[in-house]
């Protein structure tokens, strides 16, 4: 059994900081790596050591495996935590770590490969007896083959890239006449995105629920699941809100799906934290969709209802410790919800909105956790993901959790860039979300409510006018006010805008 003294975190943003927090609690030193754009990012300041690894574009920095391994060797890091995204599901990187005697915190390169190829993953699950979405189990060979297969399965279907992910190389086919052209375009996009034009067919399940199970496996053949996460609130195939327990779930279904999730992990002899994603239809039929061989963005809701620090478990497992948690002792306590805060214009087709953060007020208090990385004065780079923070609440039950999330979103103020905060708050108010009666079609279905252009009261609007006027008068005297060098000592101003008036 190894004891890690130093871990390199091959990531940035909130997840890098989240991992460093646990390292710090475990007494492990941390090494940050950063690109040009990230010199002033929080993860650089939080780490014990920090090294520059290249230009802003990910492919030249956070995806530069050799450079990262160089830093790990130079700093004598015992292990590398890849976070999510970037190199986290890159078997080649995991292999390079192994070749250089650095522990990759995650599963073996073989398992990453096996699960990374969607066709192979389907085959593995079928062999393990886990239900998969009906469809093909091999790559489509010819266009005729495609037409025949699709007719057999019956429209609508999805064509998907075997090496795929993130919605790339994926097409929905609803009409027979489009089969050839859509297969062709999926293949071409797959080729350009992943360097592999292999595609396969899945039956299309309309408006399903996205429900995933968190699993943990150690190096000694022990496997457990940490219950489900409901991830059906999505926009542009990206999750916006996750919760656990799922409002759809029954104890019987949870038991059954959980057993399959553990079986899936056992089949590949999985090491570390992973997620088994399922599609669930309204009749509670469920199908294996894919496995994520890494930590998920939404892992904190599982931590909150089980009380388990998943990053700590990842590290302990990587050090060779056997799991001390048993399936029988695990409990789901209360209800947890996560909202992802994106820097985006939610009212304008969720267009990303990078830029400079002006002021932030963090939501605090009972049952609120926030995991972010931006700070006042920080400029969000244009090169990376638009998620700037995650807000996680817990309460005794679902209704209270929704009320608390509403309160936390109300308190959460970020100015300077547009964010999804108010859009998320409106979601908390919809009947469909309140009742738990929603699927992946939720945002589309509730568009009218979610995009309603409400204004504040006329009096409130007048207050904005007054504030703008006072600010304007202030700026007329800017030369005078900026003489006050120590702004922090006098942030609240008392100026006289008009002289010689008696008390009102």
């Amino acid at each position: 059994m190894q004891k890690f003294n130093k871990i390199l975190i091959a990531n940035r943003g909130e997840i890098a900081i989240r991992i460093m927090r646990t390292c710090r609690e475990m007494g492990i030193s941390t090494v940050a790596v950063f690109s040009d754009a990230d010199r002033t990012s929080m993860h650089v300041r939080y780490a014990d050591e920090a090294y520059h690894i290249g230009p802003s574009t990910s492919s030249e920095s956070y995806l530069n495996a050799d450079k990262i391994i160089d830093v790990a060797k130079k700093t004598k890091a015992d292990a590398i935590h890849p976070g999510y995204g970037f190199l986290s599901e890159n078997a080649g990187f995991a292999q390079k770590c192994a070749d250089n005697g650095i522990k990759f915190i995650g599963p073996s390169p073989e398992v990453i490969n096996q699960m990374g190829n969607k066709i192979q993953a389907r085959l593995t699950m079928i062999a393990a007896g886990v239900p998969v979405v009906p469809g093909t189990t091999e790559s489509l060979k010819t266009e005729k083959d495609a037409v025949d297969t699709i007719k057999k399965i019956g429209l609508p279907v999805m064509v998907k890239a075997a090496a795929g992910g993130g919605g790339k190389g994926m097409r929905l086919i609803t009409n027979e006449k489009d089969i050839v052209s859509l297969v062709r375009s999926a293949r071409s996009e797959a080729k350009s995105s992943f360097g592999n034009d292999s595609v396969y067919i899945e039956k299309y399940i309309s408006s399903p629920h996205h429900i995933e199970f968190q699993i943990l496996g150690d190096q000694h053949g022990n496997f457990i699941h940490l219950f489900e996460r409901e991830c059906s609130v999505q926009r542009r195939h990206q999750k916006m809100i996750e919760e656990t327990p799922s409002p759809l779930m029954t104890p019987e279904l949870r038991k059954k799906m959980g057993e399959y999730a553990v079986e899936a992990a056992r089949t590949v002899n999985y090491e570390g934290a992973g997620t088994i994603e399922f599609l669930v239809d309204n009749d509670l039929n469920f199908y294996f969709l894919e496995m994520n061989t890494r930590l998920q963005v939404e892992h904190p809701i599982t931590e909150r209802i089980t009380g388990i620090d998943l990053v700590k478990q990842q590290i302990l497992i990587a050090e060779g410790h056997p799991l001390t948690i048993t399936q029988e002792k695990l409990r789901q306590t209360g209800h947890a919800i996560e909202c992802r805060i994106y820097a985006e214009d939610s009212d304008n087709n969720f267009m990303p909105n990078p830029g400079k953060i002006y002021n932030i007020t963090q939501p605090l208090g009972l049952g609120v956790r926030s995991d972010g990385y931006v700070y006042e004065g920080y400029e969000i780079p244009i090169y990376y993901d638009s998620m700037i923070s995650k807000l996680i609440v817990w309460a005794e039950n679902r209704n209270e959790a929704i009320d608390r999330m509403k309160r936390a979103l109300y308190e959460y103020k970020i100015t300077g860039v547009k964010t999804s905060i108010k859009f998320l708050e409106r979601i908390m108010d919809t009947d469909d979300f309140r009742s738990g009666n929603y699927d992946t079609n939720f945002i589309e279905k509730n568009k009218a409510i979610l995009l309603a252009d409400t204004k504040c009261t006329p009096e409130c609007e007048d207050m904005v006018i007054i504030a703008a006027y006072i600010e304007y008068l202030d700026r007329l005297n800017i030369a005078q006010t900026s003489k006050e060098m120590y702004t922090a000592q006098n942030r609240w101003k008392k100026y006289t805008y008009q002289k010689n008036f008696e008390r009102l």
Binding site: Y358, Y384, D462, I470, Y472, W492
Partner: protein, 169 residues
Amino acid sequence: MSVEIKIDKRIASVEILKQFENLLEIKVDDKIYQVDLMHNDEGIFSILANGRSYNIELVPQPKVKLFTAYTLYHSYDIEVIDAESRYLRNRTGAIQLTSENTISSPMPGKVIKIPVKVGDEVKKGDTVITISAMKMESEYKSPIDGKVIKIFVSEGSTIDAHQKLVEIE
């Protein structure tokens, strides 16, 4: 000083009637408010009026008389119209901060592709530039049938928000 404030599409006149330290009597259009107003260098305002507690944040924009105002639930584009801006308006005959036919991006990003060159004829709806920001690509289209008369940026360059990109005539 007679000043007007443009808030989204509304234009309101505003005037201080009385002041005692942070207690102000202010007229907005024809309504008179007694407010207890505190603010700081970061543009954070705390206003008490009729007992209500209002929190407003003003974020300055690159142009000196423009702000974005944040209330609890809304954000507003604000423009201060004073004597100087009125003079400029009168001189140019209209408020024309940017030409309608100049394409700009509301956000910073990187220019991925410019499929047109100066002199090209374009139809309304043709893509004239593709900008990438935060792993998402946006295509900007020509608002009119016309001719590309100026391209301000080049492929691969990074741009600021509200920067001019392509002008069509």
